[in-house]
Symmetry: C2
Subunit: 371 residues, 2 copies
């Protein structure tokens, strides 16, 4: 399933990143300003965070093919037009979250490796596509609890001096779940180039890295993908291990997301006027659970009150708001969410700190000056 | 679906509770001593914690019938013999955990309502039975994402001056999952009377209260069960609410379990000899996730090391062990688990404290004297 080796074309892609905050140009990575994230339950495509690991491919929607191989009846190929016409179209709202979202906060404990994401490497969209399960059934996929569905991207990535592509895998049982889509539209319009045109995987409830863009192949395998980004990156290292240890393949392979939340308003370091103020933010449950409750504190976690939740499902975030009263001075605002399994977030960044800075779901704290 | 009102027969059931620790006689509640829990991955039936809310029914396996009603093609009944012969027999290892397990620890923050369980209201068994999904399909259950499967027990319970039975419900989607069984055997032998003879529900990954014993009816409904134990009990109350508030139906209705762990050896308050000592305990992930990692600390959480995990699945606990070195003095031993979604347990009991004392999954701490 390995693609032929290609040169990585490091030219700057002609993609407008405004109004995003650019985190790196080569590869292109940008996150959403928190004030914009709070504005709408559906994140517009031009405001949606961008995560890439190599180039941003420019694929011809007429000639591009999706190859399906591995443990299927026989290898097959599908064009965009065939995917659209052969399978029932589905539409699903789902939130994508980068496993490195909120990584920046962890540097306060000890510096971590990886892209410096604040709380904006997250977005919620209405995806239109077909069920991966329908494609797998059509292709004659076997049943088997221990199988994996391996995805490869048409991009070109250089890692550790090797030329490869971005790749990932998910367990077959998850791939057969109805929420997993091969999507060709985002918020009612075609995917833009930076979001995976002409089609991508959308794996709700899993880290964004498994929702492979510019999808070029699907393969059913006995093992998880042997791609660098499945085997060496996106792993949760235990305490005492450095980022280099991930190169040896150690750590827990990430997939499902934990319960998480963040304050979007007011911003950290802001000056606010004493009296009543509305706090706003997002909360997500991850991996098929729902958000059960969101608590906010205006005194660093000494006392708490319940926030009001906006619409949400097992696959989407909820935007929440809560009215608190602030006295002049300094206030530490805190948010923590609870999922439907009564699971909440850890209090301390020290608890969740790991050398590669993944899955930070400690209580989110923001300090404001109250005038 | 309400059963006819009955007098509650409060005679002491003739059930041997040794070697369990009796927590109440009427109704009968008993938990497993921690030293016995640590001895085997499969908990023997006579060592398995007992949770009842009323009497322990003595049902005739020949005449007892399971009624299936609500939104099915037409109401039907099944005898034990019909359940055994009509559907394929399945065997599954699954851990049951009381939602109130570890409640006792919460009293250190502020007293909580409910049965005083330590860390032994948990057990792991090999269940033999048939899939609830197979029974529901046979009965002509409808499809529908928002439906609920309502269970009632043949027991007699008195709550708030009313005579009723124990009842519960789970979402239809969960009921159709292959791990949910109607079980008639436990560890290869018939269910004993206190564990639900002649058959019970087993809902892996959910709080024990949903695994209804002495099952007498299944009904597919538009709403969760209106039974007291679904609507008023087993709810997670937010901070600031008292146990009485649950009578008004507020709080999050519990179902899926969070990640959790406990130390089983050494015991709290024990005296141990300085030098190397092996810590042992259990960890569970809950709700279809798996245990990703277990960390132990011998210095109150300042430093951590990884424990070695025994066998486990998404539906069972893992028994873990870790070797630490203790110096003379006092040592605070701590355990915390991580699930496959990189979700870990909260550090403080204060965080998880709730008036009815459910779902305590704070780090488990044990203090020992080292000689």
């Amino acid at each position: 399933m390995r693609l032929p080796k290609r040169e990585v074309p490091w030219e700057m892609p002609e993609i407008a990143t405004s109004p995003l905050i650019l985190r790196s140009s080569h590869p292109l990575n940008a996150e959403t300003p928190l004030s914009l994230l709070a504005e709408s339950w559906v994140t517009p495509q031009e405001r949606f965070f961008i995560r890439t690991h190599g180039n941003v491919p420019e694929l011809d929607p007429l000639s591009h093919r999706l190859k399906i191989g591995g443990r299927v009846a026989e290898p097959v190929e599908l064009s965009l037009e065939e995917i659209r016409s052969r399978f029932k179209t589905r539409r699903l709202a789902a939130t994508l979250i980068c496993a490195g979202n909120r990584r920046e906060e962890l540097n306060a404990v000890e510096p971590v490796a990886g892209m410096t994401w604040h709380q904006g490497a997250v977005g919620n969209a209405e995806w239109t596509g077909v069920r991966l399960a329908d494609i797998l059934e059509w292709a004659g996929a076997p049943e088997g609890v221990d199988l994996h569905v391996v995805f490869e991207s048409a991009d070109a990535v250089a890692v550790s001096g090797r030329h490869t592509c971005f790749g990932a895998s998910i367990p077959l049982a998850k791939a057969l779940s109805p929420e997993v889509l091969i999507a060709f539209e985002m918020n009612g319009g075609p995917l833009t180039r930076e979001h995976g045109f002409p089609f991508r995987v959308v794996v709700p409830g899993y880290i964004g890295a498994r929702s492979v863009k510019w999808l070029t192949s699907i393969s059913i395998e006995d093992q998880p993908s042997d791609n660098y980004f499945q085997q060496n990156d996106y792993k949760l290292l235990p305490m005492g291990m450095s980022a280099d240890d991930a190169e040896r393949g150690v750590g827990v392979m990430l997939g499902e997301l934990p319960v998480n939340s963040a304050l979007l308003a007011p911003l950290d370091g802001a000056e606010v006027v004493a009296g009543e103020i509305t706090l706003r933010g997002y909360a997500v449950a991850g991996s098929g659970r729902t958000v059960g409750r969101v608590d906010v504190s205006a005194d660093g976690g000494a006392t708490w009150q319940k926030a009001t939740l906006d619409a949400h499902s097992a696959w989407t975030w909820t935007l929440w708001r809560a009215c608190v009263t602030l006295q002049p001075g300094t206030a530490e605002l805190v948010v923590r969410a609870w999922d439907s399994a009564a699971q909440t977030q850890p209090e301390q960044l020290e608890t969740v700190w790991n050398a590669k800075g993944y899955m930070n779901n400690a209580w989110h704290r923001v300090t404001v000056t109250v005038r």
